[in-house]
């Protein structure tokens, strides 16, 4: 079997070269470090069932300001380490006395991790397309270990959610999801995300969530909308056949993430 639940210290392979993420090598043998699902695609790696978000370079995150200093905004990014956004990383030039006017404590923003030092000093950046301070919408929190499921294979889940709910979605690697749309749509989307969390280990998830969203919106169904969805469902089915097995789906998602 390609997929399996593994526990810390479980023997995985005789080939030390196959040691990937979440594993360690001892006496030329590979063992698991984590409690999770094993992925044996090319290297042995273990995806944990639960984990805290540990920032790494180039991650997209959703942060909340917890402090404003003369030259930095300090963000809570849902990890043991706070993130620093230097004024120079804000898209426009900002005087230090106007910083809290732009983003004050408890304001949220879409950010990218610029760099992480070895002592875990996290530098954030907002100088990129689509990154900005948030004025509207909601933030949902999910387990960072399940973020790949929300994104889906090649972004399939996110694009489906966007299409079905007409909401804008930004999924941060730190498990925070920013959504924006009408109240009703956001409610539906929040429910769908909850469903993804509950059934994160089962297969054909995109398909199920899609069906769930359609059932909810059945009352105001329109013909052309349905045809659109029909096309979409076919795509999902294909995907489900290829990755019938839950764990392999998880793996595929994670691989897609890495690329």
């Amino acid at each position: 079997m390609e997929c399996n639940i593994v526990i810390p210290g479980q023997f995985l392979s005789d080939d030390a070269g196959k040691s990937g993420h979440g594993t360690y090598v001892k006496d030329g043998k590979v063992y698991s470090l984590l409690y999770g699902i094993m992925n044996a695609k090319n290297k042995m790696s273990v995806i944990p069932f639960s984990s805290k978000y540990i920032p790494s370079r180039k991650d997209f995150v959703v942060g909340t300001v917890i402090n404003v200093t003369p030259s930095n905004w300090i963000f809570d990014i849902g990890s043991p380490y706070d993130g620093l956004l230097h004024v120079s990383e804000y898209p426009r030039r900002v005087d230090s006395d106007k910083m809290s006017g732009i983003m004050g404590i408890s304001d949220s923003a879409l950010l990218r991790v610029k760099d992480v030092s070895s002592s875990m000093k996290v530098e954030l950046s907002m100088r990129e397309r689509g990154l900005r301070a948030l004025k509207t919408g909601r933030i949902l929190e999910v387990s960072p270990a399940k973020v790949p499921r929300v994104i889906g294979h090649g972004g399939s889940m996110v694009s489906m959610l966007k299409k079905e709910t007409n909401c804008e979605i930004f999924v941060g690697q730190n498990g925070r999801i920013w959504i924006d749309g009408t109240d009703g749509n956001m409610d539906r989307l929040a429910e769908a995300v909850e469903m993804i969390m509950e059934h994160s280990h089962s297969s054909g998830l995109t398909d199920r969530v899609c069906r769930f969203l359609r059932n909810v919106s059945d009352d105001d169904s329109e013909n052309d909308e349905n045809t659109q969805k029909g096309d979409f469902a076919e795509d999902e089915e294909d995907e489900c056949k290829v990755h019938g097995d839950a764990c392999r789906t998880v793996d595929a998602l994670l691989d897609a993430e890495d690329e």
Partner: protein
């Protein structure tokens, strides 16, 4: 001393609670019992009831406690005021502070601390009902809770105690044996057979000591097996619904339903019918067995590290 039984082991070789000398009390564990914790485990071991919760890695305050190159592990062993017959004064006391310290150190060889510099992992082990051997029960529960929290570990740790009553070594003391016995000897083993905690109370001869270590090791291996099964079974229900497509449909559906009901708790044997899993078990055991001879050599090195008082005891 008035409650002291005349004999701890009857003419049939059975102990006060009807166990064999090398038999442990029944153990039951459940994972993920505290929703707000990152990892948690409830463990029942005979009449012991222990709850362990793990939070973190998370930000550490006060900052002066932060370690620049590794994560700090805080372990709090606490007995609830109602956990014993006579109410005990709540809060830390000399005994619980000591147990917290040695238990924390018991996890040092397995937890990969360098991954989270400056952060903290908080482990809370709360004894709800005590009946001898609570520190070992707490360590077993904490070990599971750490795995449940997704903390990277080289392996699980398992703890159990050996004692001496009526001049006979017995595994996993109960209350009477603990109170009136001649020795209490809790030990913690990592999966590789490394000793990460040794404490001793009472006297052993050199020969008895060696035998006790062996008994403990065997007991810990059984516990390790139970811990592994409990971890595997936590998600067994969810995953087996997917394996339905591949294998026999009807049988597996029934199995999956029953799994959902007991939520990976209780009876581990019942659920472990998947072929791959049992194969894994075989692999695990063979691996542990292969390490056994190594352990004999390692042991002298481990002893001085672990606890101060036992080398003297051994010579005495």
């Amino acid at each position: 001393m008035s409650d002291k039984p005349e004999k701890f082991i009857d003419e049939n070789g059975l102990r006060l609670d009807g166990r064999q000398v090398d038999e442990m009390r029944p153990m039951k564990m459940e994972l993920g019992v505290i929703s707000r914790a990152d990892g948690s485990c409830y463990l029942e071991w005979g009449k012991n009831k222990v709850m362990a919760a793990v939070y973190g890695p998370r930000e550490l305050h006060p900052r002066r406690m932060q370690k620049a190159d590794s994560v700090l592990i805080r372990y709090r062993y606490n007995m609830a005021a109602f956990s014993v017959e006579d109410r005990i004064r709540p809060g830390p006391n000399r005994r619980s502070i000591e147990i917290s310290k040695v238990s924390r150190e018991a996890f040092e060889p397995v937890v990969l601390t360098h991954l989270y510099p400056g952060a903290v992992i908080d482990v809370f082990a709360e004894v709800l009902q005590a009946d001898a051997g609570t520190r070992t029960a707490a360590i077993n529960a904490a070990s599971m809770a750490l795995a449940d929290a997704g903390i990277p570990m080289k392996g699980l740790v398992a703890a159990c105690a050996v004692g001496k009553v009526d001049g006979q070594l017995v595994l996993d003391l109960n209350k009477a044996e603990d109170n009136f016995g001649d020795a209490d000897f809790p030990m913690t083993f990592t999966q590789d057979g490394e000793v990460s905690l040794v404490q001793m109370d009472g006297n052993f001869t050199q020969e008895e000591f060696k035998q006790a270590v062996e008994m403990c090791k065997e007991g810990c291996q059984k516990i390790l097996g139970m811990q592994q099964e409990a971890l595997r079974n936590k998600f067994a229900g969810e995953l087996s619904t997917d394996e339905v497509d591949v294998e026999l449909i009807e049988e597996d559906v029934v199995e999956a339903e029953s799994d959902d009901v007991d939520e990976g708790a209780a009876e581990p044997e019942e659920v472990d019918e998947d072929v791959e899993e049992s194969q894994d078990d075989v692999e695990d055991h063979s691996m542990i067995k292969a390490d056994e001879p190594e352990f004999e050599e390692d042991e002298p090195e481990d002893e001085p590290e672990s606890e101060e008082d036992e080398p003297e005891e051994e010579t005495a």
